[in-house]
């Protein structure tokens, strides 16, 4: 592997380069939604030390967010089946626009900006026809330009590939309808997929798991700068089984599924919340709030190399020296090579995801 060293050096450089326009904000490194003690749901900007630099109210419980590639602007998404997304000017800490999902659509809580920042893509449910949809928005005025099929049912997380052109979508496979809350309506026939699309909806590649894993919902994604995809899953099948919850995929190849030994895997209750690659890209980790654990694997050989126990841990982001994580108890911590260290405790409950701003995807 002659270019491994230069590849890893490149990764480190990419993760440290601040994005234009964001420096004036007091440089938040991460965004995360949370429930605050006064009962409000807010989106917060954090620095690496876990200090809250700003926070803005959301109309209801948030989920994930996406940072604009050039402007100090972020979009915060409602948790599914929410119908709002809020555009936030992070320099002034104010809300500048609100996206409303069109009729018969709701957001799933994730989205991504195009490389040039002119478009925003959102994962949505067309709940009358039960089709996953990617909404396309013009970021000048946040009007909706159009939409296209996501390639499956229940698109959840979505990322832009390092080529700056390809979208990768986690089509979780689960049918829900706002009238029946979060009830899953199609478990016996669900079919999750990892779908690669161009930015006009052209399907480039569909990846499915073996049939015996068709109840393993592909939900969250991480992208390594060389194009390796990590995906985190949530098992909807027999609770006495403990299938892998983390997969790796490279375009054109078969997915590789990673699992801890039985005794550790069974504690996770079939649920992974977030996924990220480490700053150097040599490890990948999932947070497992039901098992109160972070499982970290070596990418090179797929072996588990760390189990870190934290109550209700769920948010996870890439950090220059490893990972940053958040918990539903307010903890913000760092995961370096061999230890998990708590860097801060906020008086709030951190929600599912931690969104790095400076790590260019």
């Amino acid at each position: 592997m002659t270019n491994r060293r230069s590849f890893l050096a490149g990764l480190a450089a990419a993760s440290l380069a601040p994005l234009r326009g964001w420096s004036a904000v007091g440089a938040p490194d991460y965004l995360a939604a949370a429930l605050f003690p006064d009962g409000t749901f807010r989106l917060a900007g954090l620095d690496t030390g876990g200090d809250i630099l700003f926070s803005l109210p959301l109309p209801a419980r948030g989920h994930a967010a996406a940072a604009h590639p050039h402007h100090a602007q972020a979009v915060a998404f409602a948790r599914r089946p929410g119908t709002f997304a809020i555009i936030i000017d992070c320099a002034t800490g104010t809300q500048t626009a609100v996206l409303e999902a069109p009729k018969s659509r709701h957001f799933y809580g994730h989205g991504v900006f195009s490389t040039d920042g002119t478009r925003l893509f959102t994962t949505e449910n067309d709940f009358e026809t039960v089709q996953g949809v990617i909404g396309v928005w013009n970021t000048d005025d946040y009007t909706r330009i159009g939409e296209f099929a996501s390639g499956g049912v229940g698109p959840h997380d979505m990322r832009l590939m390092p080529d700056g052109r390809t979208l990768v979508v986690a089509n979780g496979g689960i049918e829900t309808h706002p009238e029946t809350g979060r009830t899953k309506l199609n478990l016996p026939v669900m079919q999750p997929r990892l779908t690669y699309l161009d930015q006009y909806g052209g399907a480039l590649e569909q990846v499915e798991l073996p049939q015996e894993l068709h109840k393993n919902s592909i939900r969250h994604l991480a992208v390594r700068p060389d194009g390796l995809i990590g995906f985190a899953m949530q098992w909807q099948g027999d609770t006495s089984q403990h299938p892998p919850l983390l997969g790796l995929h490279r375009r054109g190849e078969k997915p590789l599924l990673l699992s801890a030994p039985d005794g550790d895997q069974s504690t996770l209750q079939g649920y992974a919340g977030s996924i990220a690659f480490s700053g150097a890209g040599e490890t990948v980790a999932i947070t497992c709030p039901r098992g109160n654990a972070v499982h970290r694997f070596r990418v090179a050989d797929g072996q588990l190399d760390g189990v870190f126990l934290h109550e209700d841990v769920c948010g996870l982001g890439t950090a220059s020296n490893g990972f940053v994580f958040t918990t539903g108890t307010g903890v913000i911590g760092q995961l370096s090579t061999n230890k998990a260290q708590i860097s801060n405790r906020a008086d709030c409950q951190w929600d599912n995801h931690l969104i790095p701003i400076r790590t260019a995807a």
Partner: protein, 336 residues
């Protein structure tokens, strides 16, 4: 020797008091789970016999046998782990909700082609889960689209195949529970459950997901939205069993909840009061197929029933869950 790092942070509550869960596990298995699946095995056997004796959709013995067996399924339908999930048995017994109309499509397909898969139990077991089980049988017995479709002889053979397949799945679940009961009662090396707490959590999840399904799906689907109620989405509405399923599931879940809360009399009492209120509401509703949701007044009454079930759910998650070591965290409780 582990080759990897195990880090325990200070945020992790340590050593939740190990309690002896053995008696509760044994009681839930012996008095709740095993009798339920045994009854289902017996009544589905009687159902298959009835279809063999007389497959006229209007046959009273056949319809009675259908209702008895369906009752028994609804009374165990919350126990969705282990034997019920092997080979998708539970979905083959009850494919609902059927949001895309797979069941009528599967039946039409079988009948229009006179598919010979119905001649062999093994071959029929390989056909789509949507065309099997109680909901397929309900269409054959009660839906005019199917009671006259195709040839009478084929329809008869199809109903016999469906009822035999229902019995086969019910008997397989019952048989597998003999071993599975030992695994659930004795967690450890040779069990899917490493600890008694994990086994208890499985039963707790059966309780909470059972309540959720009844509130959000059995009631939520026909309720639809206020502007657009959906009475035709009620479960088993053709045989007017929709409300009965709510009542039967609540009765079964009340029994399970009482056993799980046996060590905590206060919580057991709270749960029992809440169940009593919900069951009272169900029994006084007098709207067997939830047709009433089409009117604002009727929908309101179903909404009140749904709220009373949500009250039980709140007690289960805030009072019972924590005593069983259930992590009621912000993310773990309600993830996405």
């Amino acid at each position: 020797m582990r080759a990897f790092v195990l880090a325990l942070s200070l945020t992790m509550p340590l050593g939740a008091n190990a309690q002896d869960r053995g008696p509760i596990l044994s009681d839930a298995i012996e008095a709740h789970i095993l009798p339920g699946y045994s009854a289902l095995s017996d009544s589905t056997n009687a159902l298959a016999d009835a279809a063999r004796a007389n497959c006229d959709p209007n046959s009273t013995p056949l319809r009675n046998a259908y209702n008895d067996a369906f009752d028994d399924w609804i009374s165990v339908g919350h126990l969705r782990f282990g034997p019920s999930e092997a080979e998708d048995r539970a979905f083959a017994l009850a494919f609902w909700p059927d949001t895309k109309g797979f069941t009528p499509k599967a039946l039409s397909g079988l009948i229009s082609t006179e598919d010979t898969a119905i001649q062999s139990p093994d071959a029929f077991a390989e056909t789509s889960v949507a065309g099997r089980g109680f909901f397929a049988l309900e269409l054959m017995l009660y839906d005019p689209r199917f009671t006259d479709l195709g040839g009478a002889e084929y329809r008869c053979a199809l109903m016999q195949a469906i009822t035999a397949d229902i019995n086969r799945n019910a008997a397989a679940i019952d048989a597998d529970w003999a071993d599975y009961a030992r695994a659930l009662a004795s967690p450890g090396e040779n069990s899917p459950y490493r600890t008694e707490d994990e086994a208890m959590q499985e039963l707790y999840k059966a309780l909470t997901t059972g309540l959720e399904f009844t509130a959000e799906t059995r009631l939520g689907r026909p309720m639809g939205s206020f502007d657009r109620p959906r009475p035709k989405r009620a479960e088993a509405r053709r045989s007017e069993r929709s409300l009965r399923h709510v009542e039967l599931s609540l009765i079964a879940l009340r029994d399970l909840a009482a056993r799980l809360a046996a060590d905590h009399p206060d919580i057991a009492a709270d749960l029992d009061d809440a169940f009593a209120a919900a069951i009272d509401r169900a029994q006084s509703l007098d709207d067997p197929a939830f047709a009433g949701v089409a009117t604002p007044q009727g929908r309101l009454r179903v909404e009140a029933l749904q709220q009373s079930i949500n009250d039980i759910r709140a007690i289960a998650s805030t009072e019972l869950g924590p005593t069983l070591g259930i992590n009621a965290g912000f993310n773990s409780l309600d993830g996405d």
